[in-house]
């Protein structure tokens, strides 16, 4: 019998059925969560089908509010209240509007752990791959079923091995790497597949860099991605979740069978950007010519960690953003917010001209940090630039560094300029 890939091994721990790519298996879920979008629909489905029967396990089921936080309309306020009332009746937790992005909170709280399976109504649940957890975004029917039964069906995904070759000639960050790889793989090469990345450049990434890259598996059409831990990854996970110890990483067997091996050469990589209208419309910042920038957004599940804010802070500290240009900074979680505040970063960013908001999904969710008007250009550290998603204008995706350099001049720029 041949060896198994990471996802196959994680599945095998959660089912008694034989796990093989393409096969439908019933999987036990460690955590079933819902957020403020879809949460009320989950409750409605639950009440319609299961009445007042208890959820599968009070500790494994909860809500995370991160999209319209605090709610900006009565409808969203009512929707969150529907979730709170359900949570109260059921005795389950709510990570409320003050907490920030659910997936990040789950990593910080030690809920998402290596080898576990966590599902929720967030299509970027797969960022949990950064801590070797299988995170899967789902709709409200799936989640309502999970709330009650604690399990669901999965088609075991095929696994693609991405061998990242070559050394970038200039310093790069996780977003540059994520966009470069997305530009290579587009949306068809790993569609519906699990992904394992190997190679020096990718394995060297710190935890925030891993979160950035693996969050964009969604934009590649993939299910989840994993990167083998380096000798600091576990330390960084423990520092994040404050636990004394964690379950060990699930690693692929040396003789694991991959559906395909794809080589991506990253030696040509430099500061990258995804131009409208789709995330895989990737190019080098240097190739794009003169782009006026009206609005910068630093945050999101892709780039909302302290290290991301710090990268922008280093550039913006002691400077002023260009007149007429706006910048919004949204920490991913309460803990990141506090750390950035304690270290004086928020103060310096404020002085540079930034709008600083409470933690959450910020610019990505039609939430609370503003949209673009017609013909306006937003430069965002988020993960999607589909038409209309963040307003009527144009949305470019890039790293915190490029956003910071660009808002200083009001022009897209990857360096001092």
């Amino acid at each position: 019998m041949s060896g198994k890939t990471v996802i196959e091994k994680i599945f095998a721990r959660h089912t008694r059925e034989e796990v093989a790519p393409g096969k439908i298996v019933w999987i036990d879920l460690d955590v079933i969560s819902a957020r403020d979008f879809a949460g009320p629909n989950v409750v409605k489905n639950y009440r319609n089908h299961y009445k007042d029967t208890p959820v599968v396990d009070r500790d494994r089921v909860f809500f995370t509010f991160d999209l319209t936080v605090p709610p900006k309309t009565i409808q969203y306020a009512n929707n969150q209240q529907i979730c709170r009332e359900f949570a109260h009746e059921q005795g389950i937790r709510v990570f409320d509007v003050d907490r920030g992005i659910g997936t990040h909170t789950m990593m910080e709280e030690g809920i998402a752990l290596p080898g576990t399976i966590v599902v929720g109504t967030d299509s970027h649940m797969n960022i949990l791959g950064a801590v070797n957890c299988f995170g899967q975004g789902m709709g409200d029917v799936d989640i309502a079923f999970g709330f009650r039964k604690g399990r669901t069906w999965f088609e075991v995904p095929r696994t693609k091995l991405i061998r990242v070759m070559g050394k970038p000639r200039v310093p790069i960050n996780g977003k540059d790497l994520a966009l470069w790889i997305l530009g290579e793989l587009k949306t068809d090469r790993v569609l519906g597949c699990a992904v394992e990345f190997v190679g020096e450049t990718v394995e060297k990434l710190d935890l925030p860099g891993r979160i950035t890259l693996l969050s964009m598996i969604t934009e590649m059409g993939g299910i989840v991605g994993f990167i083998p831990f380096n000798n600091q990854t576990m330390e960084q996970i423990l520092a994040m979740n404050g636990m004394g110890e964690c379950p060990a990483e699930v690693r692929a067997d040396p003789d694991a069978t991959y559906d395909e091996e794809i080589v991506v050469d990253v030696s040509g990589i430099e500061a990258m950007v995804a131009a409208p209208p789709v995330p895989h419309n990737v190019c080098k910042v240097s190739e794009l010519g003169d782009v006026k920038v009206d609005f910068g957004f630093i945050g999101s599940c892709t780039n909302g960690r302290l290290e991301d804010i710090e990268a922008a802070w280093k550039i913006l500290k002691g400077r002023k953003i260009a007149p007429g240009t706006r910048l919004a900074v949204v920490p991913s979680t309460q803990r990141v917010y506090k750390a950035a505040m304690d270290r004086g970063m928020l103060n310096d960013l404020f002085d540079a001209g930034a709008i600083i908001s409470n933690p959450g999904c910020g610019g990505c969710a039609q939430g609370h940090i503003g949209m673009t008007g017609r013909n306006e250009v937003m430069l965002s550290t988020g993960n999607r630039n589909f038409p209309g998603k963040q307003g009527d204008g144009f949305n470019y995706l890039t790293s915190p560094e490029v956003v910071a350099w660009s808002v200083l001049t009001g022009r897209l720029n990857a360096k001092e300029g």
Partner: protein, 174 residues
Amino acid sequence: MSLHQFTGRLILLTSAQARLIPDIDTDQIFHNQHLHITEVDQMGRHALGNLEGWTHFPELVQDGDVVVAGANFGSGSSRQHAVDCFRALGVRLIIAESFGAIYKRNAINSGMSIIEFPQAGELVKTGKWEHLNPIHVDLDIGLVKMMDTDETFSIPQLSKVQRDIMAKGSLLNI
């Protein structure tokens, strides 16, 4: 007639160049500004409301229609609304060259028929399938028959998990 046999029309989601549009994402299918809606029957009017050239879709579509799209249909967010808005309008089947992974789950779990059919683009390009063509569909044997010409096309059959869930109406009834 069985649940899996019905008559309707082909609604081809094509671009100005008359090709199936790839990568139609959930914000184009059901924009995030309407996500506060929880009643399925109120979702239909927003279907494809953010897809250029297709905002008239809710007026165009009729009960039994089959929506045909390009690759990676339903990529993006996990919102069930992007499936439910089609159910609300009486769409009986979505055929796409491929689907976003979460969209596929959401459709299957709510008992919405979907078929991955990589050849769809070619049939549209060569004019074998035309917009608003009346068709008869038999999902049990995987067949689309053009009502005007009696020409038939094989499409993949539903998977076992699809049939199991459709028989119960929804994953929630399992």
